[in-house]
């Protein structure tokens, strides 16, 4: 399974499925990470974590461990 944590900087991809607890899914869904949503990995924080993504036209930051719950194409 390929997740958001494996995406390269500058790469665009599509969300396939969310994993994890219901609470975790709800939080990610409310931020726009739903099946079929386009995401781009913009950059990493200076210490390599968290990540900065563009999703639904805005900038979202996620920790690597949480990004691993988002399965992508």
């Amino acid at each position: 399974m390929r997740t958001l944590a494996d995406v390269e900087i500058g790469e665009r991809t599509t969300v396939r499925r969310l994993h994890g607890t219901d609470t975790a899914k709800r939080r990610l869904l409310s931020m726009g990470l739903t099946k079929g949503a386009a995401v781009e990995l913009r950059k990493l924080a200076p210490l390599g974590d968290p990540l900065e993504l563009t999703v639904r036209g805005y900038e979202l930051s996620l920790r690597r461990a949480d990004a691993a719950c988002v399965e992508v194409e």
């Binding site: 607890t21 975790a24 924080a45 930051s61």
Partner: protein, 806 residues
């Protein structure tokens, strides 16, 4: 009680909600907390109709994800209190903002949608089909720019229509057929158990999503719950996706449909100015230096310079003897004061010398005395010879009157004292007012200037979007200690003073991180602890260079250790949801909003923390200046006071730390008013001095009698880490918004201080060969307990799916 008409203002963080709130309500606002939580509650009166109350809900992305903010907002919306929901959405970030809108439309309340930042939308060339939004959702949709104040009149008119009940209810979003069928079946199942309530459809969906909070609220019988769960499980297998994801996906699909007539692609993929700024500010190489520079600037301006000057003025001028208006005449006056002090010392030295030689000072023409001047660390600076002529000249030097040097404004205590004397007020009342109340009010207000400057910068950092970047840049470092990246600011500020530091925790997003930061940030050595460090370093360690840095290491160490220990407890485990952080576009803040935020925070400190500080101040003043003498309560010397009696009674508690004598205990208690009081109290109790220099070198020799190096350092450790001064406790109370949490924080701090000091003293004694077996054993047991808490695995670790863990 007649019910007030309320408008609930809901919207995403960074959608311009505060600006709109300020614009709608003007100055008629009050700030408090939602009951029992650290979340701020703001209410205000609508400018256009002051009988309407506007309630500013916390900024949220969703009504159903389970954070404290979301629960507070949801509880209020379904409470039946609000008549209308005003939903502000950011027009430049419509897609995600409308997610909350789809949820708000299911609550069975009229919704008015204000699409904000229309100026930005127009500038980027986007087009929003507002009519389609309005007709699809069946609620009024109005374009506004809260920043420029555009569209607010029309918005107010529509809101008042809603208040009068003239608006249609929004048409809730229809989900796909399989989901709607299950929702209908759930409705049939719960129908017998609940009365028809507003927000019913919203509750059905929450049940469908398996929302635990909603299940609790509805209090359904177990059989109904399991029937609902079975319905959902069946659907999930049929569609091969889970209920939560299904609802989320369909909401976003609905939003795509709402936006079918809008053109938002314009400018996407291109670099905006904000993107370009961010490329530099959160750049992998530049981010940390820029962060350090910003922090230095904030600290330098609010603690070292501007804020510091103001605070000194408030403490020494306004609530001290007085001050020179605009500082004019200060230098000349200070010179005169120095001259006067030297003259006083000369007179004293000469008269002593004369007495020793059995001569009359007035006639001892041949005698020469000597005055020795010391610097702050007790090192001899200068010797001045005093001849008979010098003596006579010194007798004539009069105490300078500040009023003669410039526009002198007497301080509040001076004025109050004059008033009290003019009114012939009795002695004890005079003392109560002056030493108890005025000193207490001074202690509260003395913090305000520094806070104003700090809060100004915090509001600026928040409003322009940099605060989110601080969280982004620092997250990696702080999360291992259970803290947020934004916890850095409270800790930095606390090296100056813990009170504004604690108040700065307001900027931390999650409640859990906020509580943890508030509970641990007072460990940082603040500027008032520096004289205590200097006293111990000077008296027992020969001013060794390492004492002060070691105190900072102890403070920072205590914060990090506490973070690791406490985050493993359930109460601090927080919500299990992932950390998500929006990085909003950089914006120029509105000066009015920044100033208002600054004033609000300062005022809430005065109001909520002030009372506790004042009470504590009066209490300690009374117990130190009064005692039981000759069968009655009387004003007594400090060593006869109630506090001294109390100190003696509890001093045994501190014997295992190596300083079980009452003077040290009393000094620790007076240190609760302000930590630097420890030095002054030692001056009185060990030397009989009414006043000592900042590091108290006059009493160093006497202290060596009472302390060993081990017990002195243990005393220092305890005083650095134990419960902070009353002002900080007041601030903790204000921020925790709960007596229980406040007590927990100070009990934890004191407990840790006790354990650390005991371990240090007893193990130190063991290594130096003076230890006792019970002492060593206790220390080892405590150390083992501390290490266990520190190293045990986190029982609340969120379970990641197997695939993600690999």
């Amino acid at each position: 009680m007649s019910k007030e008409i309320s408008i609930a203002l809901a919207g995403n963080p960074n959608s311009g909600k505060s600006t709109l709130f300020n614009a709608l309500t003007g100055a008629r606002q009050s700030v408090g907390n939602w009951p029992g939580v650290t979340v701020e509650k703001k209410t205000g009166r609508l400018k256009a109709d002051t009988s309407c109350q506007v309630v500013d809900l916390p900024g949220i992305y969703s009504l159903a994800a389970g954070s404290v903010d979301e629960i507070v907002a949801r509880d209020y919306l379904v409470s039946g209190e609000p008549a209308v929901i005003l939903n502000i959405v950011d027009g430049s970030n419509l897609e995600r903002n409308l997610y909350l809108t789809t949820q708000l439309c299911e609550l069975g309340l009229p919704v008015v949608i204000a699409v904000n930042m229309m100026d930005v939308v127009k500038r980027t060339g986007d087009e929003i089909d507002l009519e389609r939004l309005a007709s699809e959702l069946s609620c009024p949709v109005l374009p506004i720019s809260a920043l420029l104040g555009e569209g607010l009149d029309a918005l107010t008119t529509t809101l008042l229509q809603g208040v009068r009940g003239e608006l249609p209810l929004p048409r809730p979003r229809v989900f796909s057929a399989p989901i709607e069928e299950v929702l209908a079946e759930i409705e049939n199942l719960i129908r017998p158990h609940v009365r028809s309530v507003p927000g019913e459809r919203s509750r059905l969906i929450a049940l469908f999503e398996g929302d635990e909070h909603e299940k609790e609220r509805l209090n359904l019988p177990g059989s109904t719950l399991s029937a609902i769960e079975k319905l959902i499980a069946d659907l999930e297998t049929r569609i091969d996706d889970d209920a939560v994801s299904l609802i989320g996906q369909e909401r976003y699909q609905a939003i795509q449909n709402l936006l079918a007539g809008s053109r938002l692609e314009h400018g996407r993929g291109q670099m905006t100015l904000s993107d370009r700024i961010d490329q530099v500010v959160t750049n992998r190489i530049l981010a940390l230096p820029i962060f350090a520079a910003v922090m230095f600037l904030v600290y330098y301006l609010s603690v070292s310079t501007v804020g510091g000057w103001w605070t000194d003025w408030a403490n020494d001028g306004l609530f001290g003897d007085g001050f020179f208006f605009l500082g004019r005449g200060r230098e000349a006056y200070d010179e005169q004061v120095e001259e006067f002090e030297l003259a006083e010392m000369s007179v004293e030295a000469f008269e002593e010398e004369a007495a020793a030689a059995d001569l009359e000072a007035e006639t001892a023409t041949g005698l020469v005395a000597e005055v020795i001047l010391y610097n702050d660390s007790g090192v001899e600076k200068e010797r001045v010879a005093v001849s008979h002529d010098d003596y006579l000249a010194a007798l004539d030097v009069e105490e300078p009157d500040p009023a003669a040097f410039g526009p002198w404004v007497p301080g509040v205590p001076v004025l109050v004292e004059q008033a009290l004397e003019a009114g012939h007020v009795s002695g004890w009342l005079h003392d109560l007012v002056l030493d108890g109340i005025v000193a207490g009010v001074g202690a509260v207000l003395g913090f305000v200037p520094q806070m104003l400057v700090l809060f100004f910068f915090l509001a600026l950092l928040e409003a322009c979007g940099y605060m989110a970047r601080i969280a982004f840049v620092m997250d990696r470092i702080f999360r291992s200690f259970g803290l947020s990246g934004t916890s850095f600011i409270p800790m930095l500020v606390s090296t100056g003073c813990a009170v504004p530091g604690i108040m700065a925790a307001r900027t931390i997003e999650s409640e859990r991180d906020r509580r943890l930061t508030v509970a641990t940030t007072p460990f940082m050595p603040c500027s008032a602890k520096l004289p205590v460090i200097a006293l111990i370093a000077g008296a027992l360690f020969d001013d060794a260079w390492w004492v002060a840095p070691s105190a900072y290491f102890a403070g920072i160490g205590a914060i990090l250790v506490s973070g690791i220990i406490l985050k493993k407890f359930r109460a601090f485990a927080g919500d299990a949801a992932p950390f998500v952080l929006e990085l909003p576009s950089y914006r120029l803040p509105r000066p009015g909003d920044v100033l208002r935020s600054m004033l609000e925070r300062a005022w809430s400190f005065i109001k909520r923390a002030g009372s506790i500080i004042l009470l504590a101040q009066v209490f300690v003043w009374f117990t130190t200046s009064y005692g039981w003498a000759d069968g009655a309560v009387r004003a007594v010397e400090q060593d006869q006071s109630f506090l001294a009696v109390l100190g003696s009674a509890v001093s045994w508690i501190f014997a295992p730390l190596g300083w079980g004598h009452w003077q040290a205990v009393v000094a620790t208690i007076t240190g609760l008013i302000a930590k630097e009081n420890v030095v002054g109290t030692f001056g009185t109790l060990y030397g009989g001095f009414s006043e000592v220099s900042e590091a108290g070198w006059e009493i160093w020799a006497n202290m060596r009698v009472h302390f060993t190096t081990l017990s002195a350092y243990s005393f220092l450790l305890f005083n650095l880490l134990c419960l902070p001064c009353f002002a900080a406790i007041g601030a903790i109370r204000r921020e925790m918004n709960s007596a229980r949490w406040t007590l927990f924080a100070i009990a934890y701090q004191t407990g840790l201080a006790y354990a650390v000091s005991l371990i240090f003293y007893q193990l130190g004694a063991m290594f130096s060969g003076t230890g006792s077996i019970p002492g060593t054993v206790t220390a080892l047991v405590l150390l083992a307990g501390l290490l266990y808490l520190l190293l045990r695995p986190n029982p609340n670790r969120r379970l990641l799916p197997a695939a993600a863990r690999s």
